[in-house]
């Protein structure tokens, strides 16, 4: 996904994408991040226990932990609630 996103949107995107184990390159490509900022986001999520580093053979991949489900659920409910609270745009 491209465009101006908040950090919380980027965290959500990474966590959803990492529901299946993903490589660092795969994550930064998918989330349209540069390697420096991508590394920062991943380090943060690993430190908070939302992402786990898994070694698969010679590769190290990232995988969302069960704790990430709480954040993903809250994020989805908050964003979908936007359409309950605000008046809709119509012709």
């Amino acid at each position: 996904m491209t465009g101006r996103r908040t950090v919380y949107e980027i965290y959500w995107e990474i966590l959803v994408y990492c529901k299946s184990p993903r490589s660092f390159t795969g994550i930064i490509n998918r989330c349209d991040l540069n390697s420096k900022t991508g590394q920062e986001y991943l380090e943060f999520l690993v430190a908070r226990g939302y992402l786990a580093l898994v070694t698969e053979g010679e590769k190290t991949v990232y995988h969302s932990t069960p704790a990430a489900a709480e954040y993903i659920g809250l994020f989805s409910s908050l964003y979908q609630k936007l359409f309950d609270a605000t008046p809709e745009f119509k012709l």
């Binding site: 996904m1 491209t2 465009g3 101006r4 996103r5 908040t6 919380y8 949107e9 965290y11 959500w12 995107e13 959803v16 908070r48 939302y50 709480e70 954040y71 993903i72 809250l74 994020f75 989805s76 908050l78 964003y79 979908q80 609630k81 936007l82 359409f83 309950d84 609270a85 605000t86 008046p87 809709e88 745009f89 119509k90 012709l91």
Partner: protein, 212 residues
């Protein structure tokens, strides 16, 4: 269907329609701008006795042409992002998952943040464009104009007035209507952006970022 998805889909389709109407009328505005510019420069078919008036018509036509171009390219930029989201929403096939809905909402918000200034410009350009097209319609419909100390005398050519006035009035109306709908759209999405900022506290708390 998920009520959020239902409303989101309706809004995107409506905005997509407004964008298409905008593209059509912006293209017409460019075409009319060029047409009236050439007419004013060559002095055809206007038989105006005052060269200054031809210059005035030419200047207004040039402004309309510029506004039309700006209107067209701004709409295209906004339209591209909306079109992609609309295509995903309207694609027949597997139903969209909860995550898929959230992903599209995030995508739309990112697109709106990127194009917020452009939409603001479009609101302004459409309003100004509407007014200029109205002036252009009147100016090119004048067959003769004379200024004297006793007042202003002008003659209208009916053959030119009726079709030209309708077309130009249509463009002016579309321009003003699109300005209204873009303002409405911007108001709704600005409010959503504001609500997201407010709800970020909950996300912060979940991530354990509010300890400080």
């Amino acid at each position: 269907m998920n009520p959020a998805l239902n409303q989101f889909k309706k809004e995107i389709i409506n905005f997509y329609l407004v964008s298409i109407i905008n593209i059509v009328f912006a293209a017409l505005a460019i075409a009319f701008g060029i047409c009236y510019l050439i007419t004013a420069v060559l002095g055809l078919p206007l038989d105006l006795g005052i060269p200054e008036f031809r210059m005035f018509t030419g200047a207004v036509a040039m402004i309309c042409f510029g506004l039309g171009l700006s209107w067209f390219f701004s709409t295209i930029r906004v339209f591209e992002g909306i079109g992609t989201i609309k295509d995903i929403l309207c694609a027949s096939g597997e139903p969209i998952t909860e995550e898929g809905i959230t992903c599209l909402i995030v995508r739309m918000l990112a697109h709106y943040r990127d194009n917020r200034k452009t939409i603001g410009t479009m609101i302004l350009v459409s309003t100004i464009g509407g007014c200029f097209f109205f002036v252009l319609g009147i100016a090119t419909s004048l067959q003769a104009l004379s200024l004297s100390p006793s007042g202003i005398t002008f003659t209208l050519d009916n053959f030119l007035v009726i079709p030209a006035m309708f077309l130009i009035l249509g463009i002016a109306l579309a321009s003003l209507l699109s300005s209204y709908y873009f303002s409405k759209f911007a108001k709704v999405w600005d409010r959503r952006l504001h609500e997201i900022e407010e709800s970020e506290c909950a996300l912060k708390k979940t991530l354990g970022l509010d300890e400080a």
